[in-house]
């Protein structure tokens, strides 16, 4: 193995030399730990790297330059809504009043944050057409768990104890069935209709006295609005079940469709998608959950309460016994929620509607231009994303979706989501978002067109792509068979010694 001759970086451990770094905090008195019996103390030093600040800075800056990011280019990763993250939101989250506030600060010292959270709850409830919102869940998947646990508490509160099943369409995000399992439900998977939408008849057949809830993503993971929603929601409620909406794709429908108004009982929102809080290389996000009347009593604790005399406070432990309880420590990913609040206030009602309209416009534009280059299995208008497929290309040339995706890297683009949804063969899920210029969209389509030409003329170029990235295709098999998950070689002269 080498790390020479290119932009790759040694690990911090390889940079380490005993005696480097330091100077960040004062030295403690030598005897500070003598009051603690030795049996409670660690026997050997933590072998952490010792590096100087200049080395540390170069290490992380050089590593950052190996990443593709929204700040560096077009990132049409379907289902993830990789839109531009406004810089003022970063500034706001770092304001001392927000960033330095301790989570157990008495309510009277936390009025600014509590007011922000209360306003944000109200705004999200309005956008979703819901009665109330909890901001506690740390991510979309935790929002799902929170929602489904509320569904469970609702049925239980009515003595309706036989509802053990959650129905999900086969096109759903993997988090939906995984959530159902975590909440102790059995997942029943319902096949999609040929037009990519929910198969209402198949749902009707599966609905019954054992159904606790259905989980529907709308717009669907195929980027389509569920046009048979009325019938589906009626059937669900007739069966005594509740309707959960996965709000991952809310970016398409703000101002056009309010899930709560339409009859959904509960929905989570990914603020790191629709409300543009940064994705951070995998997180943090936040997954607020909106509920209708039925689930109001079961919201997790603590809620933010507005006092009649003015001001705000957090609920106290045990104050609302119907609650499902806590889903995490403290009040929520507040630093992320400050960013979402700033985003919503920057847009207002008209601005948010325009966000959704432009996201849908951009997706339909790219879809129109990709039609004829790749297969586009669903011809009706898409929402904020659409599915393309390399099935025909594969049959003709042997070039797969994976090859197309990897070759896009050489053209300077982040690939779309690939092989999802699972219902479409050789799928590419393309989500341009509303913050990409027409020039960027055109350049992406042009790259796809050239790649399809290359599939005919120089297929080897695609099989072996990418060629221009910091590293090329990886040996994932060895990574899984002989896992190397931590650095071990820091021994001998590199090991820190007691000072």
């Amino acid at each position: 193995m080498t790390v020479a001759g290119d932009r790759l970086q040694p690990t911090l451990f390889e940079l380490s030399r005993p005696g480097r770094g330091g100077g960040k905090v004062p030295h403690p008195p030598k005897d500070a730990l003598t009051r603690i019996p030795a049996s409670y103390l660690r026997g050997s030093w933590a072998r952490l790297p010792e590096v100087s600040e200049p080395e540390l800075t170069r290490h992380f800056v050089n590593l950052s330059q190996l990443n593709y990011a929204v700040d560096t280019g077009f990132y049409p990763l379907g289902s993830c809504t990789m839109k531009y993250n406004p810089k003022i939101d970063e500034w706001a989250a770092r304001l001392g009043g927000f960033a330095a506030l301790h989570p157990l600060a008495p309510d009277e010292l936390a009025q600014g944050t509590l007011e922000l959270l209360w306003e944000l709850e109200s705004a999200l409830a309005e956008i979703g057409g819901m009665k109330a919102v909890t901001l506690q869940p740390a991510a979309g998947a935790q929002g799902e768990l929170t929602g489904i646990l509320m569904v469970k508490a609702y049925h239980r509160s009515r003595g309706d104890l036989d509802r053990t099943e959650v129905l999900v369409p086969d096109s759903s995000h993997g988090t939906n069935p995984a959530t159902a399992s975590m909440a102790g439900f059995k997942t029943v998977t319902i096949p999609s209709a040929p037009d990519g939408g929910v198969d209402v008849e198949a749902f009707r057949a599966a609905l019954g006295p054992r159904t606790a809830a259905i989980m529907i993503t709308n717009p669907s993971t195929a980027g389509l609005f569920e046009s048979r929603l009325c019938e589906l929601l009626d059937a669900v409620h007739e069966a005594g079940a509740l309707a959960y909406m996965d709000g991952a794709n809310l970016n398409a429908i703000m101002g056009r469709f309010k899930p709560g108004e339409a009859g959904f009982d509960v929905m989570h929102i990914n603020v790191h998608k629709t409300f543009s809080t940064p994705h951070g290389g995998g997180g943090p996000g936040a997954g607020p959950v909106g509920v209708g009347e039925k689930l109001l009593p079961f919201l997790p604790t603590p809620r933010v309460l507005r006092l009649p005399e003015g001001g705000f406070r957090l609920e106290r432990p045990g104050e609302r016994p119907t609650s499902i309880g806590r889903v995490r420590a403290f009040a929520g990913n507040t630093g992320v929620l400050v960013r979402a609040y700033a985003y919503i206030r920057a847009h207002g009602a008209d601005g948010l509607s325009e966000v959704s309209d432009d996201a849908v416009l951009a997706a339909n534009y790219v879809k129109a231009r990709v039609t004829g280059v790749l297969d586009v299995p669903y011809s009706r208008p898409c929402m904020h994303e659409f599915v393309a497929s390399a099935a025909t290309l594969k049959a003709r040339t042997g070039i797969r979706t994976l090859d197309v995706a990897k070759r896009l890297i050489d053209y300077g683009f982040h690939p779309p989501t690939v092989y999802f949804p699972l219902t479409v063969e050789e799928a590419l899920l393309i989500e341009p978002t509303e913050t990409e210029s027409l020039e960027a969209l055109d350049a992406f389509v042009e790259a796809l067109r050239q790649i399809v030409v290359e599939a005919e003329t120089e297929p080897e170029l695609l099989h072996s792509a990418p060629h221009l990235s910091p590293v090329r295709r990886l040996d994932e098999t060895t990574a899984a068979r002989q896992p190397n998950l931590r650095w071990r070689a820091m021994t001998g002269s590199q090991t820190p010694c007691p000072d």
């Binding site: 933590a46 790297p49 309005e126 740390a138 056009r256 990914n270 290389g281 995998g282 590293v471 990574a479």
Partner: protein, 457 residues
């Protein structure tokens, strides 16, 4: 629109290419009866106006008070380099490294995070990452049930009450049982996990225990007999979960040393702002044999087709997007940027710096203990502690409220977090860290003495 690039002409060109007259036509699939009512929200604010609004809200928080708050979230010094590097857009505007060829920055930093956290915990497998200490603890408890095929977990009463509550929520959903281990009531071990009670709880042959969880330092700041708790757990065929605080691991015995199977905790003290509760960093680590049951992302070292060293997400068959209802957890989005903050922090502090942070906190806490005892507030428990402890103050909640009026946050009244425990009703939980100054300690002790002597205001 605030951040969109489209001109009127751009939109017209896109509509023409699609072949529709207006954007409304693209929403034809939304049934007429389901069309939204108007959005009732405040109007848009320009960046200049928004700046004023956000500053006003932030200014309404009072972060200038002298604070001794800890209880699961700790005030520490963060070197400037941490945030400067976090602000690299290449890090914070990227997503999950699904395309490793153009994500080596994120992937290598996660590998380094795993490596450094393995050094701190003494456990070889570290997942990157979970939401916070509470959810990491709940996931650890669920791991013990999957690994042992048992359904009952014992959690010490001295584990953070929010962590216990979160585990209870998760366990109720999964149909599993979580029970509390009581604390020793008095004597030299008062406030620590009651080993005799634990032994009795483990002895029920009809209800075998999957896992035992205890925190070190405990929520009450006390050092627990972790090795003994682990021995009892293992003797009953249960796994042992250690709930830890990462800065303390620079000086305290590690989960690896006292043979815990799993460690969980919150990485907030490693350079992550308090931010009223999050985003923080859920630490979850385990011994090698539990590798295939740990939830959350794992990054491994490998090579590319040209033989260059490279990093990639691995053992993905545990995750929800592959395994769906059979996944180890539903976790998808995690706290990757917070893990990066922790890595940069650890790199900036180094082993000696981190040890200094832990040791200086212990020294400040000892100063605080002496000052508060002198003011009439002795410790509630006699056992050893690192940098956090409870003191006895008659009328704790009222005194705490009056001290807030004097600009001092006297930690947290224990009854606010654990309302049901008479042993803790008069307790204030306070902590010292490297940023606690001697002047702050003096001011706290003087104000407390004034309150307790009745010389109020």
């Amino acid at each position: 629109m605030a951040y969109g690039p489209h001109t009127t002409d751009d939109r017209a060109r896109m509509l023409a290419a699609i072949g529709v007259d207006s954007v409304d036509a693209l929403f034809a699939d939304v049934p007429e009866t389901l069309k939204a009512s108007g959005l009732n929200l405040p109007g848009p604010q320009s960046e200049a106006e928004l700046t004023v609004r956000l500053q006003a809200l932030a200014g309404r928080n009072r972060v200038d008070a002298i604070s001794f708050l800890g209880a699961g979230a700790y005030r520490h010094f963060t070197p400037a380099v941490v945030d400067q590097l976090l602000l690299r857009g290449e890090f914070y505007t990227a997503y999950t490294p699904y395309q490793p060829e153009i994500s080596q920055g994120t992937l290598q930093t996660i590998y380094e995070y795993q490596s450094m956290m393995a050094e701190l915990t003494g456990l070889d497998v570290v997942s990157a990452s979970h939401y916070d200490g509470a959810t990491a603890t709940a996931e650890a408890a669920l791991m013990t049930c999957r690994a042992t095929h048992r359904e009952r977990v014992l959690v010490s009463h001295a584990v953070h009450p929010h962590y216990r509550a979160t585990a209870a929520t998760y366990f109720a959903g999964a149909g599993l049982n979580v029970e509390e281990i009581p604390l020793v009531a008095d004597g030299p071990a008062a406030g620590t996990t009651d080993l005799a009670a634990l032994e009795r709880l483990l002895a029920d042959p009809d209800r075998p225990v999957a896992g035992v969880a205890a925190a070190n330092p405990s929520f009450l700041g006390l050092l627990e007999p972790m090795a003994e708790i682990g021995r009892l757990a293992h003797a009953a065929g249960a796994l042992f979960v250690a709930v830890v605080e990462p800065v303390s691991l620079a000086v305290l015995a590690t989960p690896g040393e006292y043979e815990a199977d799993i460690a969980a905790g919150d990485g907030q003290p490693l350079g992550i702002p308090l931010a009223y509760g999050g985003p923080y960093l859920g630490i979850l680590a385990c011994r090698e044999p539990l590798l295939r049951g740990i939830p959350g992302r794992l990054v491994g070292m490998t090579t590319d087709i040209e033989g260059r060293r490279a990093f990639v997400m691995t053992l993905r068959a545990r995750e929800q997007d592959i395994r769906r209802e059979k996944a180890a957890s539903n976790i998808c989005t995690n706290q990757a940027l917070c893990a990066l903050a922790a890595s940069i922090y650890l790199g900036a502090m180094g082993p000696h710096g981190l040890r200094d942070v832990a040791t200086l906190g212990a020294a400040r806490a000892a100063d605080l203990e002496r000052a508060l005892a002198g003011a009439g507030a002795p410790r509630l428990h006699p056992g050893p502690y690192l940098n956090e402890f409870a003191v006895r103050v008659p009328g704790a909640a009222a005194v705490h409220a009056r001290l807030v009026g004097r600009g001092i946050v006297a930690g947290v009244p224990l009854a606010r977090l654990i309302p049901d425990d008479p042993d803790l009703a008069e307790g204030l939980l306070v902590c010292g860290t490297e940023v606690t100054s001697p002047e702050e300690i003096t001011a706290f002790a003087a104000a407390l003495a004034a309150e307790l002597s009745g010389a109020v205001r």
